[in-house]
């Protein structure tokens, strides 16, 4: 798939990308752990299985995001080294 590329685009775009990185990586993990926390406090501690949905979604969000975060961070580090 072709992405838009221009000579001056390189540094500008990378800056945008680096600025957004903490949000793109951090927020889904916080949300995922919030779901698991909710399952723990209302499900486990109160002995209710009604909150298993929160556990499932929390795990999916965390695993799904980590699976894509790793190669993304790796590619970003390679790029920083090249620069």
């Amino acid at each position: 798939m072709k992405y838009m590329k221009k000579q001056f685009y390189f540094t500008k775009a990378i800056r945008t990308e680096i600025l957004f990185t903490p949000l793109l990586i951090g927020l889904p993990l916080i949300v995922g752990f919030s779901f698991i926390y909710e399952w723990y406090t209302r499900g486990i501690l109160q002995g209710s299985s009604a909150f298993n949905g929160e556990l499932i979604l929390g795990i999916i969000i965390i695993i799904g995001n980590i699976a894509f975060d790793m190669p993304f961070i790796k590619s970003l580090r390679v790029l920083t080294k090249k620069k």
């Binding site: 390189f10 775009a13 990308e17 949300v31 009604a50 929160e54 999916i60 894509f68």
Partner: protein
């Protein structure tokens, strides 16, 4: 002369690495969308309900204005990292992605909205990776099972027959939405809306099938924020 050749080679490598980087950036951007499921976890308190009512449409208005400015050339497309070539003169896929998520959050029951959002946020990048590494036949087969999986695990509270129907219909709808390409309508919209519309028909038919509605997947938090 050697220096120039080396510099050219280095520049080429940098541009190639940008391709790779934009590719992973788009994948991460997709998976980030799963964070919007926090919407259902927010406490059922008056002021938060007002925020839940107004913030999603305001985000859409902001995104649409941003996109109009980009298409009119007021904001350079160079600021939009990872934009594809065909999106240069067309509405960006992120607008379709956001609109579909907001429609699902606002107008569909969470039992339908959650798996459809998961299909777009996690299923779509996985399908994209399969497409990149293997042939299109694998995309249809694995894509169907991946999306089906999201429907199975989110409808786990319902009757077994309903889980089977919903997962097959949902998985089929999602894979059709993902593989069917239109210039004017992005697959990020279709992968969410096609299964959602199909499931809405099933949702309306549940009482007529003699089945019971599944319970909510996520309950609002009760913490005093």
């Amino acid at each position: 002369m050697v220096n120039v050749t080396e510099k050219l080679k280095d520049a080429k490598e940098k541009i190639n690495s940008l391709d790779f980087d934009a590719h992973w950036y788009r994948r991460v951007f997709h998976s980030f969308g799963a964070s919007f499921l926090l919407y259902y976890l927010l406490p059922d308190v008056d002021w938060i309900n007002i925020l839940k009512l107004w913030v999603p449409p305001l985000i859409i208005v902001f995104v649409v204005i941003l996109e109009i400015l980009r298409l009119r050339g007021k904001i350079s497309s160079n600021h939009f990292f990872g934009l594809r070539m065909y999106e240069k003169k067309r509405i960006g896929s992120y607008v379709f992605f956001a609109i579909a998520i907001v429609i699902l959050l606002r107008f569909f029951p969470q039992q339908i909205a959650i798996p459809c959002i998961l299909c777009a946020t996690l299923g779509d990048p996985v399908i994209g990776e399969i497409r990149k590494r293997f042939s299109n036949n694998y995309v249809y087969i694995f894509g169907f099972f991946i999306c089906m999986y999201f429907f199975i695990i989110t409808w786990f509270k319902s009757d077994f027959l309903l889980i089977i129907i919903v997962s097959i219909v949902g998985g089929f709808g999602a894979i059709v939405g993902e593989t069917k390409k239109f210039w004017w309508l992005d697959d990020d919209f279709m992968i969410q809306m096609i299964p959602a519309c199909l499931l809405l028909i099933i949702w309306i038919s549940i009482p007529y099938l003699g089945l019971s509605y599944p319970g909510e997947i996520i309950y609002p938090s009760i913490f005093p924020w």
